[in-house]
């Protein structure tokens, strides 16, 4: 089956209102900019978004929040976004905060075909409320279920026509994990090459996890905290 799509609008044509959607990225690093822009354009409503962060007011997932397209946000850290905070406090937006490692590993579990994981993160805190606790080697662990999403939106550095992906630096973050957890995984890449051009030794995400791929355009790659040292 042909995996290559011309652009984000085509790749996302069947995303539906109320869909559960994962977004790769950490902060604004490695986020699927083209997919987010296409969702804004489409105006898909009531999204349940699973993403480590909620972007900033005018970029990343913040753009979806601005248009009030998000019903629920499942994240580990949502600072730096005033509109998010406003919608949350006014009750327009539902939010579930979960530990970052738990979030990552729940995505991974889905891709590895495991229904749940045990993690010590959150034991004894409000995160543990209502969850099964098991003791292994005298330490308590919470049972956390695997995450699956209707769609996973992924940003990679390079990809090929088979859907194989290579990520760059810390833009890898949640991308390979969410790629494994999407019922339909859509990858946007900076560079799209014919099968055979990527070194199979270097592939991070095998194409079996990727259903659609397209070459992204106009990457802004906004930096959230530009921090530099002076030439001394």
């Amino acid at each position: 089956m042909e995996k290559v799509y011309a652009n984000a609008a085509e790749a996302l044509n069947d995303v539906f209102d109320g869909a559960t959607a994962m977004f790769g990225g950490f902060g604004l690093c490695g986020i699927p900019e083209n997919c987010i822009a296409a969702l804004v354009q489409k105006g898909t409503k009531n999204l349940i978004c699973i993403a480590n962060n909620a972007g900033v007011d005018d970029f990343g997932i913040g753009l979806l929040l601005q248009r009030k397209l998000v019903r629920k946000m499942i994240s580990s850290y949502v600072g730096e976004n005033a509109e998010f905070e406003r919608q949350l406090l006014s009750g327009e937006l539902e939010v579930e905060l979960i530990p970052q490692g738990t979030l990552a590993t729940r995505c991974m579990a889905a891709g590895y075909g495991m229904p749940a994981i045990f993690t010590p993160a959150g034991v004894g805190t409000e995160v543990a409320i209502g969850k099964e606790v098991r003791t292994f080697n005298n330490k308590e662990y919470l049972l956390e279920y695997a995450f699956e999403a209707d769609f996973a939106f992924i940003k990679a550095w390079k990809g090929d026509t088979e859907g194989n992906l290579i990520f760059k630096e810390t833009a890898r973050n949640f991308n390979p994990l969410m790629a494994m957890a999407g019922k339909i995984t859509i990858a946007e890449v900076e560079e799209l090459v014919p099968a055979g051009e990527l070194d199979p030794n270097q592939v991070h995400t095998p194409g079996i996890y990727v259903h659609r791929i397209f070459k992204g355009i106009n990457y802004e790659k906004r930096i959230e905290q530009r921090t530099v040292r002076k030439l001394s």
């Binding site: 950490f26 902060g27 604004l28 690093c29 490695g30 480590n52 994240s75 580990s76 850290y77 949502v78 600072g79 905070e85 949350l88 406090l89 939010v95 905060l97 530990p99 970052q100 490692g101 738990t102 979030l103 990552a104 590993t105 995505c107 991974m108 993690t119 010590p120 993160a121 959150g122 034991v123 004894g124 805190t125 409000e126 995160v127 550095w157 990520f167 760059k168 630096e169 810390t170 833009a171 890898r172 973050n173 949640f174 991308n175 390979p176 994990l177 991070h204 790659k221 906004r222 930096i223 959230e224 905290q225 530009r226 921090t227 530099v228 040292r229 002076k230 030439l231």
Partner: protein, 217 residues
């Protein structure tokens, strides 16, 4: 009384040659500026990097290369990138030797609260709950009191917990304290700070059972 940089300087003395270290946001980040030259430590950034280097020079910022505080950074020779599941995997598996993080409150049994102020701050725990639940050695870096002058070293945390019974040591602007089964044990005092002042500003159980030396920076 120490300033933030001096707290970081004191914390750097906890580093040992060969350590893999995770530094949290705030004062802990400053520890990287004081790593002794005769030892080698590898900094882990939980978004997916081992071998974090200093901030880039102006004009060399790379948007694909950031730390867990979302700051632009660099790598050192021998660094590696990985996904967030592996990053927390190595933390959970106890491969990271030392975690230094900030806190709003610490209890005298080693509980920590640093992620939420009900009704005021909704930012989330990020990786803090994973780190405190798994790290072998956890040191908290914080001010001894809050801006209102109230102790942050308490009998029980009032704010929602990040983790329980996990903090091993605290370095504040006033003191270095170990956490023992009997409560906070005063180990060092900041230059010019009296034991009486530390007692007055520590709300939890505090043990002073020996001559308390002044910190060496």
């Amino acid at each position: 009384m120490l300033d933030k940089n001096q707290i970081a300087q004191r914390l750097a003395k906890e580093l040992k040659d060969g350590y893999y270290v995770n530094l949290g946001i705030g004062i802990p980040t400053l520890v990287a500026n004081y790593i002794p030259e005769n030892i080698k430590v590898v900094l882990q950034s939980e978004n997916g990097l081992l071998g974090m280097g200093p901030f880039p020079f102006e004009g060399q910022e790379d948007p694909d290369l950031i730390n867990a505080g979302k700051q632009t950074i660099t790598t050192v020779p021998g660094s590696s990138f990985f996904d967030s599941a592996m990053s927390f995997g190595m933390i959970r598996a106890g491969k990271v030797d030392l975690t230094i993080l900030g806190a709003m409150e610490v209890s005298d049994t080693g509980d920590i609260a640093n992620w939420k102020i009900p009704g005021k701050m909704v930012k989330g725990m990020g990786g803090a709950m994973d780190l405190v639940a798994s790290a072998k050695n956890i040191i908290v870096a914080m001010m001894h009191t809050n801006p209102k002058g109230e102790s942050k070293l308490l009998p029980h945390c009032v704010l929602p917990l990040t983790g329980i019974g996990c903090v091993k040591k605290i370095v504040t602007d006033l003191a270095v304290l170990d956490i023992t089964p009997a409560g906070f044990r005063l180990m060092e005092r900041a230059p010019g700070v009296s034991v009486e002042e530390i007692i007055a500003k520590t709300a939890g159980r505090l043990i002073v059972d020996h001559e308390i030396p002044e910190m060496q920076l």
